[in-house]
């Protein structure tokens, strides 16, 4: 039964988005060779365009693609010297090219792929790039565009990382119980970095990069499905849902930045907020709460507040205190200082910000200057405010944020 060309293209695109990771993860296990698996899965998607047009769209596209990619890998190996070593594994029903540690506990191969991509022996930038490339199926050019580096740089980064996986023997498996919590945190960190890279682009004309935020949400949902009892995962998904629920209102007319105080709360995504808030409650019940659970709890206070004026800043400040204890970082301290400014007045906020003035990690961080500018403006210190806004402007690469800061300077008397 032939299918229409449009329907086939849609089905293949859909299978790429939904099933890429599942297919690649399985074929990688069967071949024991990430590069070969990736090439064959790519080819299988190409073959699907022709085969599905002729024979109809299969009921289980992932199974079709996995079988096709496995055959392609077998053909390749037949022609190469590695045949003797790998053929028995591929030929068996589901024998496993890589040693199959504990597959009964972790039946989904995507977790193995994710733990391999996010192995701490790889540089964090490489972990992020590999995750986008191998889990999300993005082309190298798309990964490069998303992370704001040249395609050549990204191609070299991905190649180097894959070589290290093969040469150093980074295993294709879910770590054992002793190392699982820290390794899950490493995976969560990569998804978090992806989301933040998309949430506020480091450069360019657009404030956000929805291609990255959507992928991060997909990955967080996948993690939640595969690791339902983990507090970091629950918190991470909650954080992304609650932050993303506000994404449509973060820019107004012509991509202009809208602060939370000015956002139209009726346009926030209520379904996402409800789902996120329920996850926060669950994540906070697990002790000790993960840093993501605490960040999500802060996002939930904002998301559930009927108006900016009604924001419970005392609660937010208390949550930041817990977060700073759990995750001491200058950026958390900065956000805590801002919350203190709203809870106890701009002078208190400035005092808290002054303590961070010599923090080297914040020296190039535009939000420190922007926060200082804002508190000075509230206190009527117009000259200090102007200087601080100008400092923030120098450090900001994103056009929407630059326009906002320029408007603030112009509005000063």
């Amino acid at each position: 039964m032939a299918a229409s060309s449009a329907a086939v293209h849609a089905a293949v695109a859909d299978a790429h988005r939904q099933q890429w990771a599942r297919v690649l993860a399985t074929v990688a296990r069967l071949t024991g060779d990430l590069d070969l698996a990736e090439e064959c899965v790519q080819d299988a998607y190409g073959k699907a365009l022709i085969a599905w047009a002729a024979d109809g769209i299969p009921a289980n596209p992932a199974a079709w693609l996995t079988t096709a990619a496995r055959r392609l890998a077998l053909d390749q190996l037949r022609r190469s010297a590695t045949l003797q070593r790998k053929l028995p594994l591929l030929a068996g029903p589901d024998a496993g090219g890589w040693p199959d540690h504990g597959s009964g506990v972790w039946p989904d191969d995507r977790l193995r792929l994710l733990f391999t991509c996010c192995h701490p022996a790889l540089a964090v930038e490489a972990q992020v790039a590999l995750t986008l490339r191998l889990l999300c199926g993005l082309a190298t050019a798309e990964v490069a565009r998303g992370l704001l580096v040249s395609e050549a740089t990204m191609a070299a980064r991905i190649t180097r990382a894959k070589k290290k996986i093969a040469a150093a023997g980074i295993p294709y498996r879910v770590p054992g119980p002793a190392h699982l919590p820290e390794r899950i945190d490493a995976v969560c960190h990569v998804v978090y970095l992806l989301y933040t890279a998309g949430h506020t682009a480091a450069a360019g004309t657009d404030l956000t990069r929805p291609d990255l935020t959507e992928r991060a949400l997909d990955l967080a949902r996948m993690l939640r499905l595969l690791l339902p009892g983990n507090t970091s995962v629950a918190g991470l998904l909650a954080l992304i849902l609650l932050t993303d629920a506000r994404s449509d209102t973060r820019t107004g007319h012509q991509g202009r930045l809208q602060l939370m105080a000015d956002q139209d709360r009726t346009r926030w995504d209520r379904a996402a907020i409800t789902e996120g808030a329920a996850l926060v409650r669950e994540a906070l019940r697990m002790r000790p709460p993960s840093r993501y659970a605490l960040q999500a709890a802060i996002a939930a206070v904002h998301a559930e507040s009927p108006s900016f004026e009604d924001t419970d800043w005392a609660e937010i400040l208390a949550l930041y205190d817990l977060l700073a204890a759990r995750w001491p970082s200058p950026v958390v301290a900065l956000n805590r200082a801002v919350a203190a400014g709203f809870a106890h007045g701009p002078s208190a906020g400035l005092a808290a910000l002054d303590e961070l003035a010599t923090e080297p990690q914040l020296a190039q961080y535009p939000y420190l200057a922007a926060a200082r500018a804002d508190f000075h403006r509230r206190l009527g210190h117009h000259d200090d405010a102007r200087l601080a806004y100008q400092e923030a402007l120098i450090l900001t690469g994103n056009r929407a944020e630059r326009d906002y800061l320029t408007a603030r300077i112009t509005a000063l008397p």
Binding site: P99, H119, A121, A167, A168, G169, I170, P171, P175, H179
Partner: protein, 109 residues
Amino acid sequence: MGQYLVLIYEDEAGWQAGGPAVEAGLAAHQAFGEKHKDVLCGGQALQPTSTATSIRDGVVSDGPFVETKEVLGGYYLIEADDLDAALAIAKDVPAPFGGVEVRPVMTTG
């Protein structure tokens, strides 16, 4: 199964100072060797870098190849299934005055 070289980089002053920290370090190496004897293929401590001689382009000169605070002071050659297994063993390598680097040994054929 592959081989990994665990390179021990430490501040030599620590070992030269002697005292209880050095005695504890020596005992820790002894204990490491016994605990992991099944996977150990080799390992030695090296004389200090003051005894090193370098050759570059045929020119012989006094001192180590690269001047750094933490220097190669010894190594273990181990067998492990994969990097995770190698790292688990390498974490047991005593390096009270520095740390270790794990390098897969290149296999041929």
